[in-house]
Each structure stands twice: as structure tokens, then as C-alpha cells.
């Protein structure tokens, strides 16, 4: 079963639109959702959560329509935005008391364990917490009702590598249960390389690719050379080309290229740059 299924999602704003966005996240996997700022990642996520109303298209979470079964779906998801959106005069202990009334499955013990693990002060007001602390609190809030699906919108942006590593470990721990799934939007591609099983790339409101991470990293290769050398590559093997100051780079399908060509292993960032800035 798919935890998330999106078909032909369409949403229009002035100056920007999501165009027929389609992808799915199989249950038990982590989907990395990449794209530059303003590519449409947050808009897609907000449409999924019904924070924005879609023009047309179909969004299924746990196989159910996201508007028709909104409340039952929302009992099983945890959401983390790029900041903690709760009134700043509250503290972590007060949030526990509030959430206990919101979720039947709220686990106070687990919540305070995570806060202790992250050294988040229990009684300090949110406005007095650092950005890193706020994000850790936000993640503890998203996990403490034991959701089946985490929807993360840039949860690690603006955080230092140490905190990011702690947070990624927690997500990996969450994925120990094979019924759990994560949609992880980020432009920090190194984070996704660590935990994602699939990568979906969005650019200008359109999905450019949605594939398994291993296929991207092991089936693709980068050839660097001058224009003549690139012209010798079989045309059907070339996915994207980029012209730079020192020649031409080509993203190619590794298996379609003769071993005589020396290929470099691409990173997710390389692939993203080829798709966004390169040409066919």
C-alpha cells in the first residue's frame, strides 16, 4: 500500500502554479522531496494537509481521500514545518497538557523522554528557545502521538550539522517500524542521501523525476569532457547536459555507456543541478 498517492495535483497562484503533480510514497519508505526554494515543495505539502485547496487532482493518504477522511487521517500523521507554529508564551510542559486533549494516543512519557534526549527545557517559554531547540520540540510534538506517517517540510533547514544528525537519527529510529513512512522535503540534499529511499524532484511546480535513490546513485553517472568527447557518447544514454567554463558535463545512464568512458558517481545535488540548470 502507498502511504501517499498524488495524481495530477493542480493549484494556481498569481505567478506560480503546481502543474499536474503526481508521485507516491510506498508504506515503509522515506521519500526525499527536493527542489530549490519556491519550486513548489511547501505548496504540495500544504495541499496534502488541506491547508491549501487544490484546483483539481487526487490526493490519497493511507489510501483515503485527504479531504473526505481529513480528521481520521490527521490522527495518524505528524507534521513538522520549518518553524514551530504555537503561541510563543507557551512552554513544552503546557504543550503536553494541550496535546493530551487533542490526541487520544498522546504518550506523555515518550514526549518527555525525547525532550530529555534533546536537552529541550521543559518550562522555558518558546520565545526564549533557540531555533535548534524549537525544531527539536517541534519534532517531539510530531512524534509523541505515535503517527504512522511523518510529513516534514524543511525540518533541518538553518540547523547546524550536529543537531541535524541527531534529528536524522530520530527519524531513522521512527522508520524501524516497517509500517511507518516519511515525506521529507528539503534542499539539503546530503540529509536526504542519509535517510531517503526514494527521491522526487520538483522544479517550477512540475515533477521532473521520482525514483529510488539507489537507482539514481548507481544507475546514473557523470561524464566530464569537451564537446567532441561528449558527442561520442551514445545519444540515448545522455539524460542532461551542462555547459561550464571548463567544458561539458553530461548526466548519463551508466549501463548504456562504454566502460572506456570514465564516469563519476553523482550526488543527489549533482542530479538536481543537471535537471534544473542543464539542458536535454
Amino acid at each position: 500500500m502507498n502511504a501517499i498517492e498524488i495524481h495530477d495535483l493542480h493549484k494556481v497562484f498569481e505567478g506560480f502554479s503546481l502543474k499536474d503533480v503526481s508521485f507516491s510514497v510506498p508504506q515503509g519508505t522515506v521519500m526525499g522531496f527536493v527542489g530549490e526554494n519556491g519550486a513548489g515543495k511547501s505548496t504540495t505539502i500544504k495541499c496534502m494537509l488541506n491547508l491549501l485547496k487544490k484546483e483539481y487532482g487526487e490526493i490519497l493518504l493511507f489510501g483515503q481521500d485527504h479531504v473526505e477522511h481529513e480528521l481520521s487521517i490527521k490522527t495518524d500523521i505528524g507534521v513538522v514545518f520549518d518553524d514551530l507554529h504555537v503561541p510563543e508564551t507557551l512552554n513544552a510542559t503546557q504543550l503536553d497538557k494541550i496535546m493530551k486533549k487533542v490526541f487520544k494516543t498522546w504518550d506523555t512519557g515518550y514526549y518527555f523522554e525525547r525532550l530529555a534526549q534533546f536537552n529541550v527545557p521543559k518550562r522555558k517559554k518558546i520565545k526564549e528557545l533557540s531555533r535548534g531547540m524549537r525544531m527539536k520540540l517541534s519534532i517531539a510534538l510530531a512524534l509523541a502521538h505515535h503517527p504512522k506517517l511523518l510529513i516534514l517540510d524543511e525540518p533541518t533547514s538553518g540547523l547546524d550539522p550536529i543537531i541535524r544528525d541527531d534529528i536524522l537519527d530520530l527519524f531513522l529510529e521512527f522508520m524501524q517500524d516497517e509500517t511507518h513512512s516519511i515525506l521529507f522535503s528539503s534542499h539539503i540534499t546530503s540529509d536526504l542521501e542519509k535517510i531517503a529511499d526514494y527521491i522526487t524532484l520538483i522544479h517550477n511546480g512540475e515533477i521532473l523525476l521520482s525514483e529510488s535513490k539507489d537507482a539514481l546513485l548507481y544507475d546514473y553517472g557523470i561524464f566530464k569532457g569537451n564537446s567532441e568527447e561528449v558527442n561520442e557518447l551514445p545519444e540515448h544514454a545522455i539524460l542532461r547536459k551542462r555547459h561550464g567554463a571548463f567544458g561539458v558535463e553530461a548526466l548519463v545512464l551508466k549501463n548504456e555507456v562504454n566502460e572506456a568512458f570514465r564516469l563519476e558517481k553523482p550526488s543527489i545535488e549533482d542530479i538536481m543541478l543537471f535537471y534544473v540548470k542543464g539542458s536535454v
Binding site: L90, K101, V102
Partner: protein, 208 residues
């Protein structure tokens, strides 16, 4: 929904404590001026209007973006604000009434019927004010809401000034209305209920 009300009460807790000092000052003034009705009006308004403060805190932190990821319906989110405001009004009355009876006991303003009329008017006015303010703040947010509010205050004044000669004597009108004052709080509650329906429609159309 209980969670939302608890959250709002926690959020405005500090604000309420700060307002307690204002109330103490007014209490001294009311005793000095022997004006218990004024004290009642001020306490009820200060406490009731905290529902608007709660909305402002929500807006500042983009709470609605988060609240709508939780298993709470949009209708309940709005209803919680209305229940909160009525709850605050009841708290205001519980705080104010013993003080007022105490003041009345020691002053000459012991006329219960007269006081009951004033009480009804104040409660009805506070409920109507909420019925008008809440949809405006939910629709426009606290900054634009304030502008709309000021405009709304000026328009009736302006119209009143324009058509003054066509309007019958106010004192006479009020005297005629006196029997209806007993039902005024119920009319206020009805307005608040209608207002909550309007706010829910507005909120359901909103995007976050």
C-alpha cells in the same frame, strides 16, 4: 476542542495577570466614585476582549497553520474561540459581581432592579461586540481587523450625524425599549451564535 480552549487560556494567562492590576486600580476608583456599574462594565469588557488577544497570539505564531494539521475540524477551531469568549465573560462576572455587591452594600446604590437592567445591558453589549468583532478578526487578521473596526465605529456615528433630524429622541426610544432589556442578553447570545456560523464559513474558505 477542549485542548484548544486550554491552549487559549494558557496563552492569555499572563495577559490576564497584567490586567488584574488595572482592575485593582479601577476597583479603588469605583469605591471612591461609588460607581459599581462602571466597574462591572470595565471588568466584563477587559476579560471578554481577551478572546481577541488569543486570536492575535494565534496570528503572530501562525498557529492556524499548525492547528489544521491536527485532528480538529475547522468548525471546532472557530467554536472554541466563541466558547472561550463566553467562558471569559462568565469568569469576568464571577470576579466582578461579589465586588459590586460589596460596594453596593456600603453605598447608596442599592437599587436591585436598576442594577439588573444595567447588568443586562452590559452583558448584551459585550456579547454583541464579540459577535461583530470575532468574524472581522477571523476574516481580516488583527491588523486589518483593527482598521475595519475603527471604520465600523465611525460609520454609524457619521450616519447618525447625517440623519440626526430624522431620528426620534433617543431618551424616549430607550424608555420604550426598557421592557425589552430583560431579553437583551438572549438577543446577544443569538447574535453570537449567528456570528459563529458566519465565522465558520469564513474560516472554511481560508487557506494557510
Amino acid at each position: 476542542m477542549v485542548g484548544l480552549i486550554v491552549k487559549d487560556l494558557m496563552t492569555i494567562q499572563r495577559q490576564m495577570k497584567a490586567q488584574a492590576f488595572v482592575v485593582l486600580f479601577l476597583l479603588a476608583m469605583a469605591i471612591f466614585m461609588q460607581q459599581s456599574a462602571m466597574l462591572l462594565a470595565v471588568i466584563v469588557f477587559i476579560v471578554t476582549i481577551q478572546a481577541i488577544t488569543a486570536l492575535a497570539y494565534d496570528e503572530q505564531s501562525s498557529w492556524d497553520k499548525y492547528a489544521n494539521t491536527l485532528p480538529i475540524s475547522k468548525g471546532d477551531i472557530i467554536l472554541s474561540k466563541y466558547i472561550l469568549s463566553v467562558l471569559l465573560m462568565i469568569i469576568g462576572l464571577i470576579v466582578a459581581l461579589p465586588i459590586i455587591f460589596f460596594i453596593n452594600l456600603f453605598t447608596n446604590h442599592g437599587d436591585t432592579t436598576e442594577f439588573f437592567l444595567t447588568f443586562n445591558l452590559i452583558v448584551a453589549f459585550a456579547l454583541s461586540l464579540l459577535a461583530i468583532l470575532l468574524p472581522i478578526y477571523i476574516k481580516f487578521g488583527s491588523i486589518k481587523g483593527r482598521i475595519v473596526l475603527i471604520a465600523l465605529c465611525f460609520i454609524p456615528g457619521f450616519l447618525f450625524g447625517m440623519f440626526n433630524e430624522y431620528i426620534p429622541d433617543m431618551a424616549v426610544t430607550f424608555l420604550n425599549l426598557k421592557p425589552f432589556i430583560y431579553v437583551a442578553p438572549f438577543a446577544g447570545l443569538l447574535m453570537l451564535w449567528l456570528s459563529s456560523l458566519i465565522s465558520t464559513v469564513i474560516y472554511k474558505r481560508k487557506e494557510f
